[in-house]
């Protein structure tokens, strides 16, 4: 390891780092702006200046930029010498020339990297007497607020948005000190990762707009280590609460999964927690059909009166925690428990799990996916079904650039040089999907195929890889790229609801793994705990459809956090409703299933309870409550225990703490590792609990003073090692228990580097999450012989789900901003089909099928499989449309073109004639 000498002291640093990284690793405070651990160095802000010396005799030295200078063995530098200090102070002083006088009304204040760096370099008094530059702001959509005056031109936003996330509509514009970062005109930011600008921007140019509406300072937020429940990737998040409202979500670093970035669904999609659709009190349906709110004390009486010892069936949920699902399964017995998935979902996910349990290929984390150097995507629109993985694949295509740079002796952190060298060279990415995806722009080739054709294509490729029999130029080309790659990745998933695609992906991976041990095979999963519920009910096959068949033999049906209407047809829902079975629903938001229930138990959301979720790779991760549940809400596992008490189940009634459930659950073969996911409630950090609040949390003696001046005791947290308090130590604990990052002098999220063992490395507290799926390595046997074909039928179309990050997911849709962005449902037709039908973008079509007739707006795409019609999946309005259904589609002549959905703009009517003047 190289040794560098800083101010006469030697430090050992890792190989291949630059001086800035080396200094930060050594625990020294060196200010910086433009460098970002994930995006490397460009040397544009000139802030990390230090003086480098040739040798011991060199007393003069020269100023170099830390981020642009390699930390070679024997490098001598000084941070403390006056020349370097003055230089850094001068840089901040010049950045502050135009910085507006608005910290008190800036939502970055208190977690602003610019504030921290200004204090760090010691700049205090403004000497320049000239005027400050100003800029017009832009409307960037409901998620991001723009205040261009605050910009210090570090270029981080552009480098993230364009270079890292592949966005096209935000860039640096104009010359010299007129430089401007924004869109070509006002409009909603198109990237699915725009929210990261909030964290990437070192000052307050891009801020979180929903948070701004209900703002609290970072020091006032009560945070907890949590897991995003937006999709199956399981990104780590740090939600913040104050006054009983979930205020915002920040990324929580996990080297293996999300690193520094999360998608916009994860960041902005949890507003439903504060929404008016939340269930607050226990509701008992009266004969009139309306719900009567029960007092908390009455609940157990009614439950006991009701349940008796009849035939009780439980429906679990892929969005409820492992523990809640497990308890329900235990309560009703394994043969009476359904994972709560539709038949198709269950079949495919089960197969995915069984493949991952036996495949010889590796099951990669998101970080591993980033390392892949050839990628084949089968049937997944990753940006919309597993957004963080799509971002990782975008990075994977840059591995060729890094390899080229390595050959030339250029370090990977030398971002500008690496890009310049690579130009348009990318690692190969192949995408086979029925419709266009957001990764098409970086794909070497895209294939527009119907679901069956994708499966067929995969199997053909697998056959070619083993036998080399194909003459198809595309297949041979892809095979060559995959076989010459060092770490090829095959990625697929259940989103098209076609089991054969998953099967074919496994076939390709198995064929590749024979010649390359590093072959990776990954599957997405649709919901936050889909894989967990499959692992739980591995041996059982009670599907929702079977429950409905036997619905009349059921006395009580317990539905756990599951809106069945999203998985069942209207007809099946009616069957349940008409049956004599009494339905008890435990859920977070109002939905159709709750409406037809006889009793509703209000559940705590992910922000108000703890539990374990299993992500797409089978990694179990613990999330913790951010604040105690309000009203009569209870965590669903507690409701199940209440139910157990009503039924008289002695074993479950005796459970008193969450840890006991974990211990019980760990007896299940698949969940043995559950105990090591997180420390139990008795864990103490240097003898103390871990505080959810910062040490500077304010207002403790005033928050509840309007109700009573006698201060309440802080809510005790007896279930976890965390405390709803500012007392304790947020340091040196396992990463899974880190609620927020802060370090003296580092108030912004850049303080993360103080929690990392080294810059861009693992956290000091170790990895968090434990893989529950370990492959036996025996290999998957897939029959490569079958051929699947898709036949065009005149006047009939095959429905194919099209997912959208904003709108397709059940819970996030109930967040105001997300539902605005989701817009209205649509049908996608290929341009050929549209041409034949004489419809164009924005027209309407009538979709007719079995018990189905509806008018929907049309989008025409050149990359949509012919004979297939995409429908926006997960939208409540078009619930009747299901994957694979055969429908007739015809032009709707009475269609009223929809007016463009205008989302509220930032333009306030009373603002003086602003439109005429804006940029």
């Amino acid at each position: 390891m190289p040794t560098i000498i800083v101010d006469g002291k030697s430090y050992e640093v890792s190989r291949g780092k630059n001086l800035l990284e080396a200094c930060l690793d050594a625990g020294l405070d060196l200010p910086y702006f433009c460098w970002h651990p994930a995006m490397g160095s460009v040397g544009s802000c000139r802030q990390c200046a230090l003086v480098q010396y040739r040798d011991d005799d060199d007393k003069h030295g020269r100023i170099v930029m830390g981020c642009m200078t390699p930390a070679a063995d024997g490098t001598r530098v000084s941070l403390k010498v006056d020349e370097a200090k003055e230089f850094r102070e001068a840089v901040v002083e010049s950045l502050m020339l135009n910085h507006p006088h608005d910290c008190p009304v800036c939502s970055e204040g208190g977690e602003c990297h610019l504030q921290d760096m200004t204090v760090m370099v010691g700049h205090r008094d403004r000497r320049y007497k000239g005027k400050k530059n100003t800029h017009r702001n832009q409307y960037l959509g409901p998620l991001i607020n723009h205040e261009m005056n605050r910009c210090i031109t570090c270029y981080r936003c552009e480098r993230f948005y364009r270079d890292y996330a592949g966005g096209k509509d935000l860039a640096a514009q104009a010359s010299r000190d007129r430089i401007y970062f924004g869109r070509h005109q006002d409009g909603i930011l198109e990237s699915e990762f725009s929210g990261n600008l909030v964290e990437v921007c070192p000052t307050g140019v891009f801020t979180d707009k929903p948070f701004l509406e209900d703002y609290s300072r970072k020091w006032d937020l009560q945070s907890s280590p949590s897991i995003c429940s937006g999709c199956g990737v399981g990104c780590n998040i740090s939600p913040g609460e104050r006054y009983g409202r979930l205020k915002r979500i920040h990324n929580r670093y996990n080297q293996e999964i999300n690193g520094y970035f999360i998608c916009d669904r994860g960041r902005f999609g949890a507003g439903y927690v504060n929404g008016d659709k939340r269930t607050d009190y226990v509701g008992l349906k009266e004969p009139s059909g309306t719900f009567k709110a029960l007092k908390r004390g009455e609940v157990s009486y009614h439950l006991t009166r009701w349940i008796g010892d009849g035939n009780i069936v439980g429906i679990g949920s892929p969005r409820a925690s492992v523990e809640s699902n497990y308890l329900l399964q235990k309560l009703v017995g394994p043969s009476n428990f359904s994972a709560g998935l539709s038949f198709k979902e269950q079949t495919i996910l089960k197969r995915q799990v069984s493949i991952l349990q036996t495949t010889k290929a590796r099951n990669p984390s998101v970080k591993d996916i980033e390392m892949a150097d050839a990628v084949l995507v089968l049937g997944e629109d990753l940006t919309n079904t597993a957004a963080r993985i799509a971002l990782a694949i975008r990075q994977a295509t840059k591995n060729k650039a890094i390899a080229m740079a390595k050959e030339m002796g250029i370090e990977a952190w030398h971002d500008g040089a690496v890009k310049n060298l690579a130009q348009e060279e990318r690692s190969p990415l192949f995408i086979a999907t029925p419709a266009s995806t957001k990764l098409d722009d970086i794909a070497l080739a895209t294939m527009t195929l119907a679901p069956e054709e994708i499966a067929d294509f995969g199997l053909k490729l697998a056959r070619h890889l083993t036998e080399g029999d194909s003459e198809d130029p595309q297949i041979t080309e892809i095979a060559t790229h995959l076989t010459t790659a060092e770490r090829p990745l095959i990625i697929s998933g259940p989103s098209l609801l076609n089991a054969n695609i998953v099967e074919s992906a496994a076939a390709v991976a198995e064929a590749l793994v024979r010649s390359n041990q590093n072959t990776q095979l990954s599957f997405t999963s649709p919901e936050s705990n889909s894989i967990g519920s499959i692992l739980l009910s591995e041996d059982q096959n009670l599907t929702l459809q079977k429950i409905i068949e036997g619905i009349n033999e059921i006395d009580v049906l317990i539905v756990l956090e599951n809106d069945l209407s999203r998985r069942l047809s209207a007809f099946e829902m009616k069957q349940i409703n008409a049956s004599s079975a009494k339905i008890i629903s435990i859920d977070i938001l109002e939905n159709e299933t709750l409406e037809m229930s006889d009793m509703v138990l209000p559940a705590a959301s992910f922000a108000e309870t703890q539990g374990t979720l299993v992500n797409n790779e089978g990694r179990a991760q613990r999330f913790y409550s951010v604040f105690p549940p309000l009203n009569d809400r209870l965590p669903s596992w507690q409701w199940v225990i209440e139910l157990a008490r009503a039924i008289g189940n002695k074993e479950l009634s005796a459970i008193e703490s969450f840890d006991e459930i974990v211990e019980l659950c760990a007896k299940n073969n698949n969940f043995q590792a559950l105990l090591s996911v997180a420390p139990n409630k008795n864990f103490r950090d240097h003898g103390l609990k871990i505080p959810r609040q910062t040490h500077r949390n304010s207002g403790r003696t005033a928050i509840t003073a309007d109700v009573s001046v006698h201060e309440l005791q802080q809510t005790p947290d007896n279930e976890t090692p965390l405390a709803y308090s500012m007392e304790g130590l947020n340091r040196d604990q396992p990463s899974v228990l880190t609620p927020f990052v802060w370090s003296p002098g580092w108030n912004s999220n850049q303080s993360l580097q103080k929690f990392q063992a080294e810059t861009d490395g693992p956290l000091k507290g170790g990895a968090s999450g434990v893989k529950l799926i370990k492959s036996s390595g025996s290999g998957v046997s897939v029959a490569c012989d079958p051929t699947f074909s898709f036949t065009l039928e005149k006047n009939f179309w095959r429905l194919v789900p099209i997912y959208s990050l904003h709108g397709s997911e059940e819970m996030s849709y109930h967040t105001k901003e997300i539902s605005q962005l989701a817009g209205l449902p649509f049908i996608v037709l290929s341009d050929k089909d549209a041409n034949n039908m004489k419809v164009s973008d924005g027209d309407g079509v009538v979709v007719t099928g079995e018990n189905l007739k509806m008018s929907i707006s049309v989008r025409v795409s050149s990359r949509m499989a012919e004979g297939c019609a995409g429908y926006s999946a997960g939208y409540n309005e078009i619930e009747q449309l299901t994957a694979d259904a055969h429908v007739q589609i015809s032009r709707d002549n009475d269609w009223q073109p929809l007016k463009p959905v205008v989302i509220a703009t930032d333009r306030i009517a009373s603002f003086k004639s602003q439109d005429s003047r804006h940029v």
Partner: protein, 171 residues
């Protein structure tokens, strides 16, 4: 013995000295304007609430007796949706006044805050807000700040240049 006599003499002498007792409340003592008494929220010279809900007072408060929530007016300015001081906890240290970047929160020479019921020591914004500028007659934060409001466009704040024309190609 001698010491006792000396003490008696000293006490006896006091019989002829002017009494120090102030006939409070009939006779009010003089308190300087900078005396740290009851806290008020002031208005700017234009009569608008000065507080921009930046939360610095709350953060500076050593006894954590200030709680507020930021909200935004239609004109784009920030203000506290509620602002609460629990005077039964307040130690009149004046840290909030020092932290305030807009001169909104000020301590006044009023100390007569006794209540029979402690609950009455909890002051909401309506109790705190006064109709004047307090000790600082001139300052209006939004005239200085770079934030655009309905009445102040970009470039109209003190010491601000007009917005930049990004399309200009002038060197």
């Amino acid at each position: 013995m001698l010491s006792s006599l000396r003490t008696m003499w000293h006490i006896f002498k006091h019989l002829f000295q002017k009494a120090e007792t102030v006939q409070y409340p009939e006779q009010m003592p003089y308190l300087a304007p900078r005396y740290r008494g009851r806290i008020v929220l002031t208005r700017d010279p234009d009569g608008e609430e000065r507080c921009v809900a930046c939360n610095l007072c709350a953060a500076a408060c050593p006894v954590d007796c200030i709680a507020l929530q930021k909200d935004t007016r239609d004109d784009g300015t920030w203000y506290p949706e509620f602002f609460r001081i629990n005077f039964s906890r307040c130690i009149m240290c004046g840290m909030c006044e020092e932290a305030c970047p807009t001169y909104a929160i000020q301590l006044t020479p009023d100390f007569e805050m006794c209540e029979y019921d402690r609950q009455n020591m909890v002051y909401e914004k309506e109790h705190l807000l006064i109709d004047g500028v307090g000790k600082y007659p001139d300052y209006n934060f939004y005239r200085v700040s770079g934030l655009q409001t309905a009445t102040k466009d970009k470039g109209e704040a003190i010491n601000e240049a007009m917005p930049i024309d990004t399309k200009s190609l002038m060197p």
